[in-house]
C-alpha cells in the first residue's frame, strides 16, 4: 500500500494544501511590497470596492484594459450618434475597470457634465447629466481614491465653474435645482450645526443621513469650513466647491497638485463674496416648467472679507512657490472688497481694508480711498460681468435710499441716475442672444428688492431712518415691501411669499 492509498493520506494532503496557500499568501505580500518598493507596478489594492468589482478587477487581470478600451470605443460611437442613454452605465464600467486611474474618472465625469449635457436643448435634461458627473466623482471616484487631489479638485470645479459660473446657459437652473435640494437640510441656507452634530429628533437624523449618505459630506467638516472661511450660504454651489477643496487639502497626499485646491478655495470665495447671499422666490413660473429666471436673486456676501483675507494669507504662507501668484490674487480681492464695501455704504470697513492694502501692498493703491473708488467706478462702467455689475448697482441704489432717508435728495437722485445709466450701458454692450443668459433685473426691481431688506423691522434700517424713507418715497401706510416686490416681478403671494434667505448678516 503506497502513501496515497492510505486512509489518512487525504488529510495530510489537505493540510499540505492549506500550508501551501498560507505560504503563497505570505510570499505574495512580500512580492507586492518589493514590487511597490522597486516601482515595478502602479497597481494598488482596491479599497472599499463591492465584492463583484473586487473579483472582476482581479479576475480580469491585464484584460481589464482591453475591455475598458472596447467600452471607450462604444461610448465614443454612441456619443457621435447622439445615443446618450448608455453613457452613465458605460462610464461606470470604464471607471470601475480602472478604478485607480484618476484621469479616467476626471475625463468621464467631464464628459457627462460638460460634453453631453450641452447636447440637450432642454435645460432640465442638462441638469440630469451635470448631476451624474458630480455623482461619478463624489460617490465613486472618491470612494476608491479617497486621497486623490485631482478628483477633489475636479469635483470642486464642477461646483465652482459648471454650476457657479454663468458660461452655461442653464446655469440658473442648476443653481435653482441645487438650492431646492439643499433647502430642506438647512435653516435659511445655513446649517444648524448644533442639531446636525448632535441630532435629537428623527427629522434631524434624517437630515444628517441625507448629508452623509446622499451628498457624502460631513457636518463637522462643513462647520470647519464655515469657521475657517465662512459663513456661507450652503444652497449656493460656491460653498460646496470650497468644502470639497478644503477636504482635499486635508486628506489628499499629492502635494504638488495642492495649489489647484487652494485656487479652487480662493476663487470660490471671491464668487461667494460677490454674490454669496441668496434671495429666493420658490415659485416656478406657471406654464413654463424649468424657468427659474425670477425664482431667486443673489446679493453680495460682504461678511466674508475677513475670512477670505485670512485664507489668502494662509495660502501665501503655505505655498511659497506660488507666493507671488497668490499675492496678486489676494491684492485684487482686497481692491475689489474695498470698492464693494464702499459702494454698499460700509465706509468704515472700506477704510479699514484700504489701510490694510496700503500697508500690505503699498504700490497697489496710491490714491485716496474715494479717488480709488471713483476710478474703479469708471473702470467698472465698462464691465459686462453680470454678477459684479448687479452687486455694484445694488450698492449704489442702497446708498441712494439712505441718502434719501437722510434728506440728501440730490445725492440720492444722482446715485440712482448713475445706477440706471450703468445698467443701460451694460445692455448696450451685450448682444441680444446674451440677454436671456446674463440679464439684469430692472432698476425698479432692484429698488423694490432693496426696500424689502431696508424696511425690515429687524434687519433693516433703524426705525427713524426707515420711517423717513417711507415718507420721502411717499409710500402708503399699508405699504408691504414684500408684497410690492412680489407684485412687481409677477409672483403670486398665494403660492408662496418671497423671502429673503438670510445669508450671513450685515453687521
Amino acid at each position: 500500500m503506497n502513501f496515497f492509498t492510505r486512509p489518512y493520506a487525504r488529510y495530510v494532503l489537505i493540510c499540505l494544501l492549506v500550508m501551501a496557500f498560507i505560504c503563497a499568501g505570505k510570499m505574495q505580500e512580500d512580492m507586492n511590497r518589493e514590487r511597490h518598493e522597486m516601482g515595478l507596478t502602479r497597481l494598488q489594492p482596491l479599497e472599499n470596492a463591492p465584492p463583484i468589482l473586487a473579483f472582476t478587477t482581479v479576475a480580469l487581470g491585464g484584460f481589464r484594459g482591453l475591455i475598458s478600451n472596447m467600452l471607450w470605443i462604444r461610448a465614443n460611437q454612441l456619443q457621435e450618434d447622439g445615443k446618450y442613454f448608455e453613457m452613465v452605465q458605460l462610464a461606470d464600467w470604464i471607471t470601475k475597470l480602472q478604478p485607480h486611474f484618476v484621469s479616467v474618472w476626471v475625463n468621464q465625469a467631464w464628459n457627462l457634465s460638460y460634453n453631453i449635457s450641452v447636447k440637450f436643448p432642454d435645460h432640465a435634461d442638462r441638469w440630469l447629466w451635470v448631476q451624474r458627473g458630480i455623482e461619478l466623482l463624489r460617490d465613486y471616484g472618491l470612494q476608491y481614491n479617497p486621497q486623490e487631489t485631482l478628483i477633489y479638485r475636479e469635483l470642486a470645479w464642477h461646483f465652482q465653474h459648471k454650476m457657479g459660473a454663468n458660461l452655461d446657459d442653464a446655469n440658473m437652473l442648476y443653481k435653482a435645482e441645487w438650492a431646492e435640494i439643499w433647502d430642506p437640510l438647512l435653516e435659511d441656507g445655513v446649517p444648524n450645526y448644533a442639531l446636525l452634530l448632535d441630532p435629537q429628533s428623527p427629522e434631524d437624523h434624517s437630515k444628517v443621513k441625507a448629508i452623509r449618505e446622499t451628498f457624502k459630506m460631513d457636518p463637522l467638516v462643513m462647520q470647519q469650513v464655515d469657521e475657517e472661511y465662512g459663513p456661507f450660504e450652503w444652497r449656493l454651489p460656491e460653498a460646496h466647491a470650497i468644502y470639497w477643496a478644503y477636504l482635499g487639502l486635508k486628506v489628499s497626499v499629492r502635494e504638488k497638485d495642492m495649489i489647484q485646491l487652494r485656487r479652487a478655495i480662493f476663487q470660490s470665495m471671491q464668487l461667494a463674496f460677490m454674490r454669496g447671499r441668496m434671495i429666493e422666490f420658490p415659485i416656478a413660473v406657471p406654464g413654463e416648467p424649468g424657468n427659474f429666471s425670477k425664482a431667486f436673486e443673489y446679493g453680495p456676501n460682504l461678511d466674508i472679507v475677513k475670512t477670505t483675507n485670512r485664507a489668502y494669507e494662509e495660502m501665501k504662507a503655505e505655498e511659497e512657490k506660488y507666493f507671488e501668484n497668490i499675492g496678486t490674487a489676494h491684492k485684487n480681492f482686497l481692491r475689489t472688497s474695498i470698492y464693494f464695501l464702499y459702494t454698499h455704504n460700509r465706509i468704515v470697513e472700506a477704510q479699514k481694508w484700504y489701510d490694510y492694502v496700503r500697508e500690505t501692498y503699498p504700490d497697489s493703491i496710491t490714491t485716496s480711498l474715494e479717488e480709488y473708488v471713483f476710478a474703479r467706478v469708471e473702470e467698472e462702467f465698462g464691465s459686462t460681468s453680470q454678477d459684479r455689475l448687479k452687486a455694484m448697482l445694488m450698492g449704489f441704489l442702497e446708498r441712494a435710499f439712505i441718502d434719501l432717508a437722510m434728506g440728501r435728495e440730490q445725492k440720492a437722485m444722482g446715485g440712482e441716475m448713475l445706477a440706471r445709466k450703468m445698467r443701460q450701458r451694460y445692455y448696450d454692450q451685450i448682444s441680444d442672444s446674451q440677454i436671456v443668459r446674463i440679464k439684469l433685473p430692472t432698476t425698479d426691481e432692484m429698488k423694490a428688492e432693496l426696500l424689502v431688506r431696508l424696511l425690515d423691522p429687524e434687519e433693516g434700517l433703524n426705525e427713524l431712518l426707515a420711517n423717513q424713507l417711507r415718507t420721502r418715497l411717499q409710500l402708503p401706510e399699508d405699504y408691504d415691501p414684500k408684497k410690492a416686490y412680489a407684485e412687481l416681478i409677477g409672483v403670486s403671494l398665494e403660492e408662496g411669499m418671497p423671502t429673503e434667505l438670510d445669508g450671513p448678516q450685515v453687521p
Binding site: G82, F85, W129, V436
Partner: protein
C-alpha cells in the same frame, strides 16, 4: 412532411436532453429580471426605458444566438460523431429533410424562448412605465412607446444647375478644360450642395419636409437635427431661432435654443403645423457668429407617429428571429462536415468577421491597410496591395451588410418604426439569400460526408 416533422420533434427532444432548455431558461430569467435592477441610467424616464430595452433585448439576443450556435453545431456534429445519424439516414428520409428538420427544430426552440423572454421584457418595461407620473408616461408614449416614421426634407435637384455652372465656368476659364471634367463637375456639384447645407451667421434657411399627413393629425412630431461647424470636436453652443409651421399661420412655433454641434438633437414640436400641401416648413435663423453646416443626408429629419409600440415590438422580434435563424444555418452548415469543436470554432470565427465590419469600412475610408497620413487620416497613395484590400473589403462588406443592415433593438429603444417592409427585407436578405446560401452549402456537405467514417473511436 412527416419525415421533416419527425426530425423537428427529435431536435426538440435533443435540446431538452442536452439541458440547454434549463440553462437557457435560467440565463434568460437573470437577464430579464435581474439586469434592470443593476443598470445605471441618466435619471430620466426615457433614459431608463431606453437602456432597459437595449440591454435586456441585446442580452436575450446574445444568449439565444450563442445557444443556437452551440445547439446547431452540437446536435448535428454529435449525432454524426456518435453514429446516431446512421440510424436516421437509413430511414426513407432524404438528407436534406434531416438537415432542414434540424434547422426548423432549432428555430422553433428559439422562437419559443424569444417569444417568452421578449414578452417578459415588454411586460416589465410597461409595468415600470405604469408606475411613473402621467406626464412622464406621456413623454414615453410620444418618444419611445411608439413607432415613429421618418421624413427628410425635399431638396431641389441641383444637377442641372451644377451643369450650367460648369459650362459657365468653362467659358470663363477655358484652361479648366485641361482638367479631368468628371472631377471638375464633382467639385462644382459639391459647391452647389454646400449652398444648401450651410447657414451663414445672421441668415435664415428654410427646409420643406413632406409628411404623410394621414398619420399625424393632432399628434406631436419631433425634429431631429444634426449640424457641424468648422471646428472639430466642438463643444460650444450656438444660439439659433427655430420657426416651424406655415409662414402666415398664427400657430407657427418659435423657439430660441442654444444648440451643440456634432450629435443629433431632438425636440418635440406641436401637432398640426403642416401647411395645406402636407409639408412641414422649418426655418432656422443662425444667431451665432459661426456658419452652421446641416448635411443633406442627415442634417434634418422629422419624426412622426406611424403606429403603436406593440406591433412594432413584434416586428422587431421577427427581425431578431431572422438573425437567430441565420446563426443556426451557419452552425448546421459547419457541423455538416466538421467535428463539434471545429464547427463551433469556424462558426464563431465567421461571426467575428461579420462583427468586424467597422474595420472593413475603415480600410475603404482610409484607402488602404498600411499606414495613413495622420494629418488627413487617409493614405496619400494606395499601393496595389491596398487596392486588393479595398476590393476585398468592399465585397465582404456588401455581403455582411445584407445581414447587418438592420437595427431592431436600436429602433425600438428610440421609438423608430420597424416597418413591415423592413421585416420582409430582413427575411429575404438574411434568411432567404444569406441563409439559403449557407443552407445549400451545408446540405451539399451533409450529402457528401461519410457518416460511417466519422465514428467516435473512444
Amino acid at each position: 412532411m412527416q419525415g421533416l416533422s419527425a426530425i423537428v420533434w427529435l431536435t426538440l427532444k435533443a435540446a431538452v436532453r442536452y439541458r440547454i432548455v434549463v440553462v437557457l431558461t435560467g440565463l434568460l430569467l437573470i437577464s430579464v429580471v435581474v439586469l434592470p435592477l443593476m443598470i445605471k441610467h441618466d435619471g430620466s424616464a426615457q433614459g431608463f426605458t431606453q437602456i432597459l430595452l437595449t440591454y435586456t433585448l441585446s442580452t436575450v439576443t446574445f444568449l439565444l444566438g450563442f445557444a443556437t450556435l452551440w445547439l446547431a453545431c452540437g446536435s448535428l456534429a454529435h449525432e454524426i460523431q456518435e453514429s446516431q445519424m446512421q440510424l436516421l439516414s437509413v430511414k426513407p428520409i432524404p438528407r436534406w429533410r434531416i438537415w432542414l428538420g434540424k434547422w426548423f427544430g432549432i428555430i422553433l426552440i428559439n422562437a419559443f424562448f424569444l417569444a417568452v423572454s421578449s414578452a417578459a421584457v415588454y411586460g416589465i418595461t410597461k409595468w415600470r412605465a405604469g408606475k411613473l407620473s402621467s406626464e412622464q408616461q406621456q413623454l414615453l408614449k410620444n418618444e419611445i412607446f411608439v413607432a415613429r416614421g421618418s421624413a427628410m426634407p425635399s431638396y431641389p435637384n441641383t444637377d442641372d444647375f451644377a451643369e450650367k455652372l460648369f459650362k459657365e465656368r468653362l467659358e470663363e476659364n477655358p484652361s479648366l478644360g485641361q482638367l479631368d471634367p468628371a472631377e471638375v463637375r464633382r467639385q462644382i456639384s459639391k459647391q452647389v450642395n454646400a449652398m444648401q447645407e450651410i447657414v451663414r451667421p445672421g441668415y435664415v434657411r428654410r427646409w420643406t419636409i413632406p409628411i404623410p399627413s394621414e398619420y399625424i393629425k393632432d399628434q406631436p412630431m419631433f425634429l431631429r437635427v444634426k449640424f457641424f461647424t468648422s471646428r472639430p470636436y466642438d463643444t460650444s453652443t450656438y444660439d439659433v431661432l427655430w420657426e416651424l409651421g406655415p409662414v402666415q399661420s398664427p400657430q407657427r412655433m418659435r423657439r430660441q435654443m442654444d444648440i451643440s454641434p456634432e450629435a443629433p438633437i431632438e425636440f418635440e414640436i406641436p401637432p398640426n403645423l403642416l401647411d395645406s400641401e402636407g409639408n412641414l416648413i422649418v426655418e432656422l435663423t443662425n444667431g451665432s457668429q459661426t456658419p452652421l453646416f446641416f448635411s443633406l443626408q442627415d442634417g434634418m429629419e422629422a419624426l412622426y407617429g406611424q403606429g403603436g409600440f406593440a406591433w412594432n415590438y413584434v416586428r422587431g422580434m421577427v427581425v431578431i428571429l431572422c438573425w437567430i435563424a441565420f446563426i443556426a444555418v451557419i452552425g448546421l452548415a459547419a457541423s455538416s462536415f466538421l467535428s463539434f469543436p471545429v464547427a463551433a470554432f469556424v462558426s464563431i470565427s465567421l461571426l467575428i468577421i461579420g462583427f468586424s465590419g467597422g474595420t472593413l469600412s475603415q480600410v475603404i475610408e482610409q484607402g488602404g491597410i498600411s499606414g495613413v497620413n495622420h494629418e488627413t487620416g487617409m493614405k496619400d497613395q494606395s499601393s496595389s496591395l491596398d487596392q486588393v484590400a479595398i476590393t476585398a473589403s468592399k465585397a465582404f462588406l456588401s455581403v455582411i451588410n445584407l445581414v447587418k443592415d438592420f437595427s431592431p433593438i436600436s429602433f425600438l429603444s428610440t421609438g423608430r418604426s420597424v416597418t413591415p417592409g423592413m421585416v420582409a427585407q430582413a427575411f429575404v436578405q438574411i434568411v432567404m439569400v444569406m441563409g439559403g446560401l449557407f443552407a445549400a452549402f451545408g446540405i451539399w456537405a451533409f450529402y457528401k460526408v461519410e457518416l460511417a467514417a466519422a465514428q467516435n473511436n473512444q
